[in-house]
């Protein structure tokens, strides 16, 4: 017998590009075969071995990309709504007609009131372009989806450490001995975390998972702490308490690299009380150990003293470390005091603190023999490590206390000296970058004019808020108002409700790109759909007059759009994974990447980025037209190559041109740049010099390298902001200081929330959740990304329906049995869903997979598909605003600092249904599908 099977024919070509089956940006090798018509077909997709993100591996989603590309759910042509909003009735139109309609809607807005355009994007990777476009249009009402995703992580990281866990931080996988995962389910940074966990396992490093649910990474964890949702900040501060109590903190690190030695202005009469004392040039002061006298923090040779106070004009000013000790040695933070609330027994908290200290300080030293010089000019013979790494994500982020919780984790890292030291959390270029080096937000809309600067940024105090003279927000989403002062990613979750209410003003046109706001991305989904379709009885017009969406697939939002601009898939277009946006850097390298059309579209679709550039030219927006008014760029590829954000700095850093040929980082545009990227495997990488690779915020070699590469224009060393002054400036305003004063009803809330030191408060709603004893959260299945993959036959055979998982105590108390259903109620709504028992679960928590449930009629799924029948969302239970206060005001269901949507604050109660109903409730009527029905079977060999 012959040793069959035979070899199969090799692919005609392998095209190296970047995956987009989730946000990770892995490199992929796309195997192409020419079909009978001569057109290449996608035959197989595997990981690119050379790629810095995934090193050859690929997840379940990535390998299923070929069915994404060939999906019957793909839109085929531009569509104009013909039926009522939400029905899904359209007529196909040409691109000329579609773009003509869009221009006819947008041009009058730009000329009269640009803020009447709201432009929000979902999980796109072109925010550098979309933000630039919004700024040129002149609307402040632009943001991506960070407001409901992870802005708490991003903002807390940048304000505290000058860089965030996601997505500019990484554990030092090579050297760490102990990794703490806080609220990281199966998601970001997916393949890098999986690769890293495998590496830790291979060399016996320990992983501790802190999560209410033991799925995903937590299942691999050596230790699992099944914490009660929303209490991670309390746990982190209790660990801080234990470390301070034992004096197990890294004093040299704190003295040199954090603001722990900076003196706090304690003059009760000073308008700057609680801010850091500064010299005449505005530099925060420390006491220099060499002289015992105040000196600027960054003075040459200064050796900051952690303990010394400064007596000046009758006031004793203490360093930040004194305040830390006073705050966190309070018995309220003792493990015994927080055990009940967190669900973690006190001995386990104490054991974890001991393990942290032992790993950081007691093991065989992790020391790199790499001399380096810090920003004060001190020469260090080695790089001493602290092999304790942490990573955190949605379980921290999606709570109304998430910003300060994330700060608490960062404080814990800093006390251990475990930031940017070998074995600890490391930054990925272009980070580290302090909050002060970011732009401030701009919201000064003027007819016919661009904004003076980018819409989003990092406020340093009340003067940077985007509010009018009466204190009302200038943005439709309320970001940078008093309800969400540091809303650095905007608040996409508020846009539809606010636009519907005309609060703070009515808008005219809403553009959504890759944002499924009529379904899994909305809080209170059913109500959101009502708002999208609601009309003003006086005029009969829709309250949100015009909605344009761009999406590649017939997602739920399509049916609610007036004009649909069909996007390509990731295999059919150019993209840049840019250092101006969210690149693919690693701690040891700066790296960016491209996507490029490895196959041509077989239908009348266009890449949204090119459409946006076209619209920009048709509208004559600055930056999108040449001096003679002609379009400046032919398409997105042309923009990627030729756009310059600053002289010499463009979307891609690799293969630019310099005086002596090719240049990287800074350089003039190079017409052959994309060809160079394709030749190099789709990405570019510049390695950080070894002496610059750690201690980056303080390392002269790194700072100089970063300037040479163009990340910033001058070295900008900084200290970790344990004491966060921007917060204190808002707190001062709440205390009555300064010209910009918050509304009275927010004073107390701001005073508490804008604490310059990390602080914990119960998730909003917890205090009066008596009737709703359980926490309810979602987790991310590894084989899906949000709502993206239910139209993928392989992935829906892995997760085609979801169950609500109940802990043992709830299961037994409710008399539940296999196959049962439950009615789940929150103060906002009720759903009826199938349930199952899970043991590895916090006893006060129920959970389900995120976004598996689908609206019937969407995504080309048959109306009887389980996603639409038994699949469900928790979103129906989650309010977008908190219950009314005494005066009837309803604040956002969000973090009071950043406006981050507080998805995971949800509280529910359960009752067993006597008999399983035929379908989950609410059972919404099916949408008409804008795409034809799918075929009955799939038995084709991919490619010819």
């Amino acid at each position: 017998m012959s040793p069959r099977p035979a070899h199969r024919p090799p692919p005609d070509r392998i095209a190296k590009t970047t995956c987009y089956m989730c946000a990770c940006r892995c490199g992929i090798d796309v195997h192409l075969r020419d079909g009978p018509d001569g057109r290449p077909r996608v035959a197989y997709i595997e990981g690119n071995r050379d790629h810095p993100v995934n090193r050859g591996v690929l997840c379940a989603k990535g390998a299923s990309g070929l069915l994404h590309h060939s999906s019957p759910a793909r839109l085929r042509t531009p569509l104009l709504r013909t039926g009522p909003r939400g029905a899904g009735e359209f007529r196909p139109i040409s691109w000329d007609e579609a773009l003509g309609i869009a221009v006819s809607w947008l041009r009058p807005l730009r000329e009269s009131a640009p803020e009447k355009l709201a432009f929000f994007t979902g999980r796109d990777q072109s925010q550098s372009l979309t933000g630039f476009w919004a700024q040129a249009f002149g609307t402040p009402n632009w943001a991506a989806h960070g407001g409901f995703c992870s802005v708490n992580m991003a903002a807390a990281g940048i304000y505290t450490l000058g860089g965030a866990f996601w997505e500019f931080g990484s554990p030092d996988w090579e050297r760490t001995r102990l990794l703490l995962l806080w609220g990281v389910a199966e998601d970001h940074d997916s393949n890098p975390i999986k690769i890293g966990l495998g590496r830790l396992k291979a060399r016996g490093a320990r992983v501790v998972g802190i999560n209410p649910v033991r799925t995903g990474y937590n299942a691999l964890a050596d230790d699992w702490l099944g914490i009660t949702p929303g209490t991670d900040g309390l746990l982190a501060l209790s660990l801080v308490h234990c470390l301070l109590e034992a004096g197990r903190i890294d004093l040299p690190f704190l003295a040199r690299f954090t603001n722990a030695p900076c003196l706090v202005d304690e003059d009760p009469a000073s308008p700057e009380r609680g801010l850091l004392l500064r010299d005449g040039e505005g530099r925060p002061l420390v006491i220099d150990r060499r002289t015992g006298k105040p000196a600027p923090w960054d003075g040459e040779g200064v050796e900051p003293d952690l303990a010394a106070t400064w007596r000046h004009r009758g006031t004793t000013h203490r360093p930040v470390l004194h305040h830390l000790a006073a705050r966190y040695l309070d018995p309220a933070y003792a493990p015994e005091a927080v055990a009940d609330r967190t669900g973690i027994p006190a001995p386990r908290i104490r054991a974890l603190a001991a393990e942290l200290a032992a790993a950081a300080f007691d093991g065989p030293p992790v020391v790199l023999d790499r001399p380096w010089t810090d920003f004060r000019g001190h020469r260090h013979a080695t790089m001493p490590g602290r092999p304790v790494a942490m990573h955190a994500m949605r379980g921290i982020s999606a709570h109304s206390n998430g910003f300060q919780t994330c700060r608490a984790i960062h404080l814990l890292q800093a006390l251990l000296g475990a930031v940017e030291t070998p074995g600890a959390m490391r930054f990925e270029p272009p980070y580290p970058k302090p909050a002060t080096a970011h732009p401030r937000p701009h919201a000064d809309a003027r007819p016919g004019e661009p904004l003076a600067g980018p819409p989003l940024g990092f406020p340093q105090g009340p003067e940077d808020l985007c509010i009018d003279a009466a204190g009302r927000p200038l943005r439709i989403d309320g970001a940078y108002g008093w309800e969400a002062p540091l809303a650095a990613h905007g608040m996409l979750q508020s846009v539809i409700a606010n636009a519907h209410a005309g609060d703070p003003y009515p808008i005219d046109t809403l553009i959504l790109y890759m944002a499924n706001m009529a379904w899994n991305s909305a809080m209170d989904t059913a109500r959101t759909m009502e708002m999208l379709a609601d009309t003003d009885p006086a005029t009969g017009e829709y309250r949100i007059p015009r909605i344009i969406c761009s999406d590649a697939f017939s997602s739920e939002i399509v049916a609610f759009s007036d004009l649909v601009l069909p996007d390509t898939t990731y295999l059919e277009r150019h993209d840049c994974i840019s250092l101006l946006d969210r690149p693919i850097s690693e701690p040891d390298s700066a790296a960016d990447a491209i996507r490029w059309p490895v196959v041509e579209p077989d239908r009348d679709v266009r890449p949204f980025q090119s459409v946006l550039i076209d619209l920009g030219a048709r509208l004559g927006l600055p930056g999108f037209v040449a001096a003679d008014g002609a379009p400046r760029y032919a398409d997105y590829a042309d923009y990627i190559v030729n756009h310059q954000r600053r002289p010499g700095i463009g979307p891609l850093a690799g293969w630019r041109t310099g005086p002596h040929g090719l240049a990287h980082g800074r350089g003039e545009p190079n017409a052959a740049q994309l060809e160079e990227y394709r030749r190099a495997g789709g990405f570019w990488q510049a390695h950080v010099p070894p002496e610059a690779a750690f201690f980056k915020p303080w390392n002269r070699a790194y700072q100089d390298w970063a300037v040479a590469m163009g990340f910033f224009d001058a070295p900008q060393p900084y200290l970790l902001q344990l004491w966060c002054e921007p917060l204190r400036r808002f707190q001062l305003a709440a205390e009555g200081v300064g010209p910009r004063q918050p509304p009275e009803h927010l004073r107390d809330r701001l005073r508490a929330a804008m604490d310059p030191l990390p602080v914990w408060w119960p998730p909003f709603g917890d205090e009066d959740a008596g009737g709703f004893p359980l926490h309810a959260v979602t987790q991310r299945p590894m084989a899906h990304y949000h709502s993206w993959h239910s139209h993928n036959p392989w992935l829906r055979q892995i997760h085609g329906s979801n169950l609500l998982y109940l802990p043992r105590a709830v299961w037994d108390a409710g008399g539940f049995r296999d196959g049962d259903w439950a009615r789940v109620s929150s103060p906002t709504g009720t759903i009826e869903v199938p349930v199952a028992l899970m043991e590895a679960l916090n006893p006060r928590t129920v959970w389900t997979w995120n976004a598996i449930g689908k609206r019937r009629g969407a995504w080309a799924l048959h109306p009887d598909a389980p996603e639409g029948v038994t699949g469900f969302l928790l979103n129906h239970l989650i309010p977008d605003r908190l219950p009314p206060d005494a005066a009837g005001r309803r604040l956002p269901n969000a973090d009071p600092v950043t406006g981050q949507a507080a998805w995971f604050d949800l509280r529910v109660r359960l009752e067993r249904l006597p008999a399983p109903p035929p379908a989950a409730r609410p059972a919404l009527p099916p949408q008409a599908s804008p795409v034809p029905p799918p075929p009955p079977l799939l038995a084709e060999r991919p490619g010819p």
């Binding site: 997709i45 690769i195 040299p252 004194h322 085609g800």
Partner: protein, 249 residues
Amino acid sequence: MTTLPPPSPVKLGLVIDLDTCVGCQACVTACKAWNTGGTGAPLADLDPWGASPEGAFLNRVHTFERLPEDGGPPQIVHFPRSCLHCEDAPCVTVCPTGASWKRAADGIVLVDEDRCMGCGLCAWACPYGAREMDPVAGVMKKCTLCADRLDDPALEPADRIPACVRTCPTGARHFGDLGDPESPVSQLVAERGGRDLLPDLGTRPVNKYLPPRTRDRAPGAPALDPVATDARGFLGWLDRALSTLPRLG
């Protein structure tokens, strides 16, 4: 009935680390994607966008909860399941047509689809549930260890491994010669106590599973000794500690 070849010295197979498998399903779809484009019939899916999608997979991952006997925290185990390429493969000997066969050179168990009449006896005979009938082609499908990759000169040497092993993000899947006690996979099995599945059945599987390491046993770092119970005490300790700190200048 089909006869097995004499035992081969080379025994190619997988070693799957249940300590490291994160249940991500990457191996499942990489396998399906590679093998649906292979030399046999594509791995079909019925009702792919409908109420009951059902397709042929050569590899599936199941997830179980485990309650430790000592009352420790419950654990979750992800368990990838595919053909174990048994040395005494009942799926081969049961085959009436000779379609199910074991490769003499390396022990890979394969199906010759041209000879398979879709009777399904082999799937009944396999105690591991590792075979699936293709719902459209009507032929039996199973893991081939990506035999069409292993010695394909068109592939880079590093790629001459099963697609599931190449893609596994946590490195939980290992491929090699389990007939050679010195091979890295055999060493791994020896180090980690690799196990056969259902050894009592006498099928002598080639694939091995590495059991999960012990969980939820904190290493018992020495308890922290307090240096202070309040801020004043802490500041006293701080002064003493700083006085012993070396100066930079």
